[in-house]
């Protein structure tokens, strides 16, 4: 039996989404995609810099990978919707990661504007994956508004600090029927294992891969981590207990 993550009717075999920011060179991106076996990558839309026009980063993404533009830079729902529409018109498909941020210190998302953007874009036929602060009611409203998955943060963007919001993530995983994709904060493959083991549907990783000494090797490690975590979740971990419970039989000791 193959275990798929289905989002908007698309069956994904990989539970790792990869962000393409912060890489020292775009040349690394196809290698990272291959090593990680990711099937969903995020990109951003920016004004061109005429002094250094640079390259078209989409050319570095294999054609069979889903490109999910983010709406970074948006400060409210309308700006997010505008960025999403531009990206779709530019031929990026209809998946979008909503990101609405006004807090510059922790880059925490604005859940209220994110709910509004989800509603606007879902109605326009987008596959909407909102980046959000892990709050149960906000997540419910995003799903009601048409979110295909919900992407709560583990820790602030780019911090590599892991699952600091673990208890809230656990509640979201338990209560929300849509896939929960832990986005932001995951710094190590062990934390990706933990998220999947808890029942997260997937994780989105960028900084942890891009800033590793060897990003391609780290991408491979994350690709394996999500597989391990998912297997452990499907296997159903045993119960924990306060006191020891012998694993070896307590009878027939040699000294008896």
């Amino acid at each position: 039996m193959t275990d798929y993550l289905t989002i908007a009717g698309v069956r994904l075999t990989s539970r790792l989404f990869v962000g393409t920011g912060k890489f020292a060179s775009y040349d690394l991106i196809p290698k990272v995609i291959e090593a990680s076996r990711t099937q969903v990558v995020t990109v951003a839309l920016r004004r061109i810099d005429f002094d250094t026009p640079g390259e078209n980063m989409l050319e570095y993404i294999p054609k069979d990978v889903i490109v999910m533009p983010n709406t970074s830079g948006a400060r409210n729902a309308e700006e997010a919707a505008r960025i999403a529409r531009i990206a779709r018109e530019a031929g990026c498909g209809n998946w979008v990661k909503i990101e609405v941020i006004t807090d510059q210190k922790y880059l925490l998302p604005d859940n209220i504007e994110t709910i509004k953007a989800t509603e606007i874009l879902a109605k326009e036929g987008f596959v909407v994956l909102p980046y959000m602060s892990p709050d149960l009611m906000a997540a419910k409203r995003m799903v009601d508004a048409g979110a295909a998955a919900v992407m709560p943060l583990g820790a602030p963007i780019g911090t590599n600090r892991g699952l600091k919001t673990k208890e809230l993530l656990r509640i979201l995983i338990e209560e929300i029927e849509a896939p929960i994709v832990v986005d932001a904060g995951i710094g190590r493959p062990s934390e990706a294992v933990e998220a999947l083991e808890m029942g997260a549907a997937a994780v989105l990783v960028n900084t942890a891969i891009a800033t590793a000494d060897d990003p391609v090797l780290m991408a491979e490690a994350f690709g394996q981590a999500v597989e391990i975590g998912r297997k452990a979740y499907l296997a159903g971990p045993g119960a924990t207990s306060e006191y020891a419970a012998a694993s070896s039989p307590l009878t027939g000791f040699l000294s008896q």
């Binding site: 920011g21 912060k22 061109i48 640079g54 078209n56 530019a90 990026c92 900084t207």
Partner: protein, 66 residues
């Protein structure tokens, strides 16, 4: 002609269409996205898009992002 390009005011002479502007900026080979006054203009419409005084033009592209 005065235009606002990516938020900056610039002055041009002899510019007729959006296509002329893209050429003058040495950008035709790039995969770029262009908005004029908030409306997305597709590539095949650049040559027929006449520029007007004080148009606000956004020239965008995809970059790495998380």
């Amino acid at each position: 002609m005065k235009l606002f390009i990516n938020g900056k005011e610039e002055t041009f002479n002899g510019l007729g269409t959006l296509h002329d502007l893209i050429v003058s900026k040495n950008l035709p080979e790039q995969r770029i996205i262009v908005e004029v006054n908030g409306n997305l203009i597709k590539r095949d419409e650049w040559e027929r898009t006449a520029l007007q005084e004080a148009d606000r033009i956004e020239i965008l592209r995809f970059v790495g992002g998380g």
